[in-house]
Symmetry: C2
Subunit: 323 residues, 2 copies
Amino acid sequence: MNLLGIDLGGTKTSVCIGDENGTIRAARRIPTLASEGPESGLRRTAGLARALLDETGLDPARVDAVGISAPGPVSVREGLMLRPPNMPGWVDVPLVRWAQDSFGRPVFMNNDANACALAEYRYGSCRGTPNLVYLTMSTGLGAGIVLDGNLVQGATDLAGEVGHHVLDIRGPPCPCGQRGCLEIYCGGKNVADRLRARIVKDNARSAILGEAGGDPAAIDFRAFLAAVKKDDALALEFWEEYLERLAQGVGTVIMFFNPQVILMGTIAIHAGEFLLAPLRERVRRYAWAPSVAACRILPSALEGRIGDLSALAVAADGLPPRV
Amino acid sequence: MNLLGIDLGGTKTSVCIGDENGTIRAARRIPTLASEGPESGLRRTAGLARALLDETGLDPARVDAVGISAPGPVSVREGLMLRPPNMPGWVDVPLVRWAQDSFGRPVFMNNDANACALAEYRYGSCRGTPNLVYLTMSTGLGAGIVLDGNLVQGATDLAGEVGHHVLDIRGPPCPCGQRGCLEIYCGGKNVADRLRARIVKDNARSAILGEAGGDPAAIDFRAFLAAVKKDDALALEFWEEYLERLAQGVGTVIMFFNPQVILMGTIAIHAGEFLLAPLRERVRRYAWAPSVAACRILPSALEGRIGDLSALAVAADGLPPRV
């Protein structure tokens, strides 16, 4: 099959041509320039896709399906990107209609966490595992859930919002409006924001600031992790909380879904066993032994390609299987 | 179809004959006498079933399937009841083999929470709703989860253990070994145990004791609820915690599964809107508005029949649909 994949992100947008087995034949990437609004962004994306089809000599009429991975929340049923928190102005964007109009082919769409779970299920290191959870572990913390080989969507495509389940009813306020969400403790952006606020407020000396080149605005998860490895006191205080809260959240994922594997994205890939080894140990406090024993916790092995693969997986998942 | 249903419980065991549409043609009940061990209990259960078949004149060879609902945890794949907390000595009981040997017909089994979810999906007030959660709300607090019309089992049949996800890492110890589980706050037995301990320890005056006839050992959830309605101070203190923690737990269920409906068992049926109205209000603190709006929270309407219906539903779910 010929599939056209579109991975629309808050920062960059990628377009690829590939097949249902996850072979990427060609891919191109542009900045999304989200602040310029959806009309401009989608026009440039369609142009990029047409250029890619031209370059590869693929007749658009021979594209079997278009797959779109987009920032959540989305409405799969209505084909809309609803209101992604990091893309102001992109409200109720009719992505599916846009792609149908642009390419004249069948279009399938899902949110990025779900699309990544489909990519892991089809192309990842644990492909074919019937019960599989993907945790994005990036700016935010979303989940895509495959149970008995099927992606879980929920009543209104909002299943798997594990980043905003409440770990502590008296915890810190989350930008989502609740308190003590998993994401306020473990989302990459929130951890950096909370560290920055603490350092500025206390005028604190911390290796984190050094790792960020002395600029509080440059504090990010990488700077945090580097400071943890240098045994910086403030970094270690946050690291302890980070690990414990991540273990609590992952424990709940295990108790609810009883998956064979949890695959973890960006931060877990970057931190590797330095994060995963203590996490596996601490999860035992927050889930029952037989369920923990049944579940491997692994970094995604698709990093670098997962954006393109997730868009292809959405297209492949939407089409009926060929007999 | 002719289905034989067996609802094996810690206290009583029910046997029924019915069909795939949830029509119960005959039912009988005996005390399980769990302390006498599985051999005695299962021998008496088989005898009861044979007597029921005799009475109804149904040739055992014309039974299409046997369905068993059993206290969790169970291994559906291995046909075992593993180690139910309230039935000491019932360890790794091969229920499916026993029923095959006893009746010579196809046998299907599941844990009671899953079986109740199947009963709701097939016969309940919201039958056919594709995404549905059943919460047992009885001695313990378990869940059965139907997503896209399929029961969620998980990798090792342990999905849906929502009663033991951790709401507060510094919360009270739960008999399961963790701290701050949903069930320690909201399980009927745990609430009664914690109230009793508090009343005995503080030698407290409380209307709860009066509602229990002055006997601390007789304190149960009904006595607690009656005292709440009389504005007893201790009862109100626990009620506040009960509602808030139940809302937190239900909020997480909504964020993870995005169901169209959550059906609640025993305690919710007994307490009715006195419990459900404030619960619906408080859930808004622990789940996002669109997901809350998509989800009705209702009492089960199958009370009284749900045990028999859950066993029939397990049998009906196991058989291939008739064309």
